[in-house]
Chain length 348, copies 4
Amino acid sequence: MTLPLQVGILGASGYTGVELLRLLAGHPGAEVVAATSRRARGQGVVDLFPSLRGWTSLAFEDPDPERLAERCDLVFCGAPHGVAMDQVPRLVEAGVRVVDLSADFRIRDRAVFEHWYGETHRGPDWLGRAVYGLPEVNAGAIREARLVANPGCYPTAVQLALLPLLESGVVATDGLVADAKSGASGAGREAKTHLLLAEASDSLSAYGAGGHRHLPEIEQGLAHAAGEPVDITFVPHLVPMIRGLHATCYAWLPEGVAPDLQGLFERRYAASAFVDVMPEGAHPATRSVRGSNFCRLAVHRPGEGRQVVVLSVIDNLVKGAAGQAVQNMNLMFGLAEGDGLASPPLLP
Amino acid sequence: MTLPLQVGILGASGYTGVELLRLLAGHPGAEVVAATSRRARGQGVVDLFPSLRGWTSLAFEDPDPERLAERCDLVFCGAPHGVAMDQVPRLVEAGVRVVDLSADFRIRDRAVFEHWYGETHRGPDWLGRAVYGLPEVNAGAIREARLVANPGCYPTAVQLALLPLLESGVVATDGLVADAKSGASGAGREAKTHLLLAEASDSLSAYGAGGHRHLPEIEQGLAHAAGEPVDITFVPHLVPMIRGLHATCYAWLPEGVAPDLQGLFERRYAASAFVDVMPEGAHPATRSVRGSNFCRLAVHRPGEGRQVVVLSVIDNLVKGAAGQAVQNMNLMFGLAEGDGLASPPLLP
Amino acid sequence: MTLPLQVGILGASGYTGVELLRLLAGHPGAEVVAATSRRARGQGVVDLFPSLRGWTSLAFEDPDPERLAERCDLVFCGAPHGVAMDQVPRLVEAGVRVVDLSADFRIRDRAVFEHWYGETHRGPDWLGRAVYGLPEVNAGAIREARLVANPGCYPTAVQLALLPLLESGVVATDGLVADAKSGASGAGREAKTHLLLAEASDSLSAYGAGGHRHLPEIEQGLAHAAGEPVDITFVPHLVPMIRGLHATCYAWLPEGVAPDLQGLFERRYAASAFVDVMPEGAHPATRSVRGSNFCRLAVHRPGEGRQVVVLSVIDNLVKGAAGQAVQNMNLMFGLAEGDGLASPPLLP
Amino acid sequence: MTLPLQVGILGASGYTGVELLRLLAGHPGAEVVAATSRRARGQGVVDLFPSLRGWTSLAFEDPDPERLAERCDLVFCGAPHGVAMDQVPRLVEAGVRVVDLSADFRIRDRAVFEHWYGETHRGPDWLGRAVYGLPEVNAGAIREARLVANPGCYPTAVQLALLPLLESGVVATDGLVADAKSGASGAGREAKTHLLLAEASDSLSAYGAGGHRHLPEIEQGLAHAAGEPVDITFVPHLVPMIRGLHATCYAWLPEGVAPDLQGLFERRYAASAFVDVMPEGAHPATRSVRGSNFCRLAVHRPGEGRQVVVLSVIDNLVKGAAGQAVQNMNLMFGLAEGDGLASPPLLP
């Protein structure tokens, strides 16, 4: 391998695409050599994203897995779920390593995937081969992986909030609640009425309260941490902001137990570059991670009772998508974990 | 009593003040004859609130309970907690009926009040005499009341969400969670750094996760509904919007129980003019009640499991404050419950 | 004519539709009996607009001008330009009076229309018969009109700002500038990428700087006021807010002239119920008219020089669309001009 | 000089302070060794600005110019105007080079300063010694300067928009208009009612229409470019967004002149790293520069007439304040002009 890494982005005209381009523009060891988009083919990347004027001269090209594989050391797949399922195997078989940002390879159990996504999985053999790309859990496997399934935004925030509690067994595995709030960029760049500024601004609503596709991914990750199945209720909400995701997670201590929760969290993430355990009593704001790959956590125990409340914030497009993908790439190629992720958050 | 009612507003320069003035401008049977503000005394109401140009020619006057009582049939007290405690008894003793929008007379147990508000209650005898002004529970007592303690915004949304479940006994009284989200107007009109647009916009954070003053009010109301103490965790969040409050409430069904939740809610509020039970599967948005006195509710049971999720939205300044106060006034004086509250929400 | 007026809305699934429904819900002398939408036919109005739950039980029906005409005294046509052109003549010929909210009948000069809108006008005879519905100029003709062409949002704000200056001849008719800023609802409810919250929020940009379709309407109105052609530059901007339109208008006094501008404006609008001339030195905010039919104006003369600056704010959906349409209906049917428009603005 | 430069920030608890800290965190040749704040002294920088957790361990110290001078190669003065006037001379006299972000040394004419700022200048001798820090005009002098007066946000955007036109003499020097729109962070971090989210969100208003303090700075810069006095009207507006400044500038071509405006702009800024002349017909959005030091310009000539319209966008906290200050520092110390300013804008 010769640096800089040659990187391609398949499906680059959405928000994860532009965010990958932004982060990789400042990456010391990687260079984006191709960006594809069926819809925007032929247009300059900067015509869609003027923010990148001066940083790239690429034009969007038609997606062609084999041609990408020839030119690239790694491809980020930003295609939507259901499409990635077809493209990703072609990429890996053509010899390129892949970080897939869709949901298609996150769920190990084919039946669970098919239940929640309502379609037959056309590459079921790959489910077992993909490595779930949460570096705070899986760094070793990610380093060796040919195919990394990059976690969803909600699952990232919720798992990082609850892992210390479930891994250590200090809380019950049932009665868990994850009440999560996301900015509108989490819903993507496709034009939909309910995401218009005039619709979504100055308002808040829940969605998917009866069941959301990120639930099985959350359950899978938490069950792995707990060593047994968990029971969790997950309700996402759409918040009138561009970026930012806040998960408020609730768990129960057994009667009579009073663990050192602050210490537990600090120890669990002592070696994690991108997880920041805030001081006791803190309430992290999503803006404190805006544009950065950080997850900030605070753990509370209201009234010194049995309920534990963990507040978890990420930027849904960075740690919740493109930043985590870059972090995974860094691990896969033996680069410094924080390469390309070194800018502080934008505040205010 | 001769109509129109003569109404005064003590402490009218904040958001509840301007909202009362807006609602009462369209009230067929009430007229605001005095608005006080120590800070803005002498200024025209429209100098602070140009939106009211054409609707009022009042100037702010110094607060003087006895002088207000002489001129008014009813006074809305918009003074902050700790101040209302002194003003309200003087008003009632001077013979005027009062709707108090502060927290000072909401909690019946003096010790609980003093614990959460950190000060001695200087009118403890009044705690037993005040009627808690949630019309969906207390309409009869409100009609007769001299002093109505208008509920807080969070307690209104949370109680309306959970009352049908607790009154009917279909859920457990412990393990309750109320994860609530409020627009910035809920924090008032006083200048504070963390409420600046440049701070609070495009961001979301929890606050008071370790314990918030609205908790004892919620506990008191829910315990009354359940007929026994309840155990609830309440976490409020600041959302980048002006108005709107969304409470996402979680409760547990006992094993093996599958009640008709939709029917339960519809029956409970069949006679409530301002509570709208949405169809099954709905997710009310705060903007669907913007500027109106409605509470819209939707009840979910994810995966047909034991967890019940109730979504509850109000406009924090209307049903969560000034609108509920007008509703209480209407009951107290035998007016139609919806007088002054007849405009549809503003959408978009 | 028997009250209440029977009113139809053709093309009711957009923002002018829901705003007409909101305003007419509180109208003492009119009742909406039909709302059409090709796209949403069969759906309940409240399924699209839950804010109207409790105010209407209508379902959207297919647009059929003749059937509407049978049932209605007046039809508001909310169809987009190019469509209205076909529907409106059928409505009027079927005997119903019409307020058309599209641009199709605003421009008297067919060639000008066709130049700016890039299509042949299919009802050119109607251009001369339509009355331009700016009540502050045309109240007399509106009262008699069969067809009122409701002004655009930008033209309303700009004309009201500049009429006093041009009618009185105190400023030059050239060198005029209208720098206008609008909230996103002005662009309608159709899903477009650049109007997504994640695109349009926390950003501002101009558009149409080389020429915007509202320019000829502005020029026509101002020329009428001045009695001669005017030369004006018009640049609109998209602002990250839902409602509100602010026009900042610049005009030049001749050398050596120092008119009483404040008095000029106050006299011009003394009889206009919905135009509020603010005190000297004021800067009206769009929120001071949110949800209301008011236009608030302030006139400045920086440094006592030759430049006059007029600040003009409206709610683009009310005085800039649906509210002005209701005002026109009131005039057409001899109702009080303010019927249905009596609620104060929503602030904050 | 040994790298990294030792840098101090006097008055670091406002938005320019936190923005300097953010930019300098990524600067390869500079290190912040001191940050002062009278109000926040003793607190950790990250206690006020959690976004910087992991990037700085500084605590705010009391401002003491002489002690700063001992430790620093350069001090950024973020003190408010009227305070900087006293601190800056002490710093320079103590031997440290200074970039002052206040208005105190921007205006060369003492009388003009005192007229607009309403106070006696206590360091008038320094007015002539300070170099106006607009690198696109003054790079040579900045390199040698002991004291750089960093331009205001509005003056930066307006001057960059109009310089090509005035330097080349293609437009008239009178009849200029700058209609400017700024996000709320431009008004600073101090708590003021009108800047609350609940006040300023979802609304837009002009301010200072009768005369704003940035006007004399704009006039001074443009007169310098034109070689003669200019006549310009400047009206700023408060926009509901955090960052971003859009200046819409209007100038007049003489009769019969049709210059190649696009070419004029492109040539003028060919060597300017941070000024991006957009393609013909473009409308730059403020978000296209969010978080970056870029100014993007587009020049229009509506209807091929005499009016020239220049659209100019900057991030008010970067090119309008902290970023330009870093750019000036780079020039003063012979570093690469873009050091610390290399991250692409944050979009969406």
